[in-house]
Subunit: 231 residues, 2 copies
DNA sequence: TACTATTGTTTCACAAAGAAACAATAATTC
DNA sequence: GAATTATTGTTTCTTTGTGAAACAATAGTA
């Protein structure tokens, strides 16, 4: 068993809600445990000599291959219904490890983080306990284990209420994007349509966008500008 | 030693930033450890069978005698500089406990909560490790141990940015208060003056206040209404 | 060259916010 | 008991921001 008690802090874990965006839909990375039809958020543990933030970055980087990702902590979950030793034991059994008792079966208080990443840049990798990790549309998530659905809800709440302040750190879009694409991201996250003219006015007035050459091979109509976030 | 390892989750603690308000000043509860000139936020640990939120409520109630307090989690701190076994050992030594090693000396990830309470209702009680617990003006805090100053900063940030949504849950004022007192609370928290007329208009338009009889033994001028929050 | 779809901008109506003036009144002073 | 004073509650005016619609520009298509 690779997870040795001595290496990790006990009773602490983290779970991450990784948002991506494709076309018009907000997506979330969800993994499935071996043969169990059990779906969960990607999470992990904190090493004894490792800052919490670093642990989360490490886990995310292992799963997505991405570094330098915008990560934000949003809430810590510590209720008693996050405690189901039987499920955890079954999970290890499927992996071929049969433990009567294991620190893994204990109670964990979990720190929730979310990340915003560019969907197209990522080929997610499952870890040793899970056999798949896939993008799911936010509105078509499978039933998640324990309180993970609540964790997703709270992550999105937090993201919605802080959207404007977080623009600069966005990784949901490619380096350069059109105003329409930016608006679609907003609409996907907020779950409601925005007025086009006012959206443009607001974004421009925030003074965080740089306008570039037009470059559009699209349809038979006026070509949009491309924008990037100011550094 | 009363803190038995078996009873508590390991590597996890909480710290609470307890805001009070008196006159014009925002205040915070700070405790001092025995003979150590070490100041810290009141905190504690989570029992094995206790939800995190309950643990914090329990600790707060033990220290202030208050129940039914508005408590909000705002951030979890997990950096490596929250790890100073020597200081913790010295603290226990002062108490008469000499341990070579103790789970107390370990590394803790701490969950930060803040509370808003009515300054006048509280006579704070020190716990067994501390010899005093007192109110300090926010702008005259003593030097706090480890990262506790950062915890206070972050609590206030969080409070400021969510002030309007939180009015109903306020406990900073007595049951009935004048509009001026309410404004003073806002100004103390936000750290800036508010326009009187607009403040009144805004508060009334929120439709969360109940206006009561005038009752004022104050100065030689028009008497203010008293208000309370609608239930 | 006219047409079409989409983008960028402007205009107009309306709501919200900030500052100042006005009105009301409880205690004090003469 | 009338004038005074300090403070409170409200109104008015101006400025700013927001939402909806109209207008203008233009890359490709017919």
């Amino acid at each position: 068993m690779p997870l040795l008690q001595e290496e990790y802090l006990q009773n602490i874990s983290y779970d991450s809600v990784i948002f991506g965006f494709s076309g018009e839909k907000l997506k979330i990375l969800v993994l499935e445990y071996h043969n169990m039809k059990t779906f969960a958020l990607p999470g992990g543990f904190v090493k004894v000599n490792e800052p919490l933030d670093e642990a989360v970055k490490r886990g995310l980087s292992e799963r997505t291959g991405l570094d330098e990702i915008y990560l934000e902590q949003f809430h810590t979950f510590g209720s008693m219904d996050r405690f189901s030793p039987a499920v955890m034991r079954k999970m290890l059994l499927e992996q071929g490890y049969d433990y009567e008792d294991h620190w893994f079966f204990g109670r964990f208080i979990t720190v929730g983080y979310y990340a915003l990443i560019n969907y197209e840049n990522v080929v997610p990798k499952p870890d040793e306990l899970s056999d798949s990790i896939k993008w799911y549309d936010y509105d078509q998530l499978p039933k998640l284990m324990m309180d993970h659905a609540e964790i997703v809800e709270k992550a999105l709440d937090h993201l919605r209420s802080n959207l404007d302040h977080k623009l600069l750190s966005f990784n949901l879009l490619p380096e350069r994007f059109t105003m329409k694409e930016l608006q679609q991201v907003y609409e996907a996250i907020l779950g409601e349509t925005q007025n086009r003219a006012n959206f443009q006015r607001k974004m421009l007035s925030l003074n965080i966008l740089e306008r570039h050459e037009k470059l559009f091979l699209g349809g038979s109509h006026k070509a949009p500008f491309l924008y990037s976030f100011k550094k």
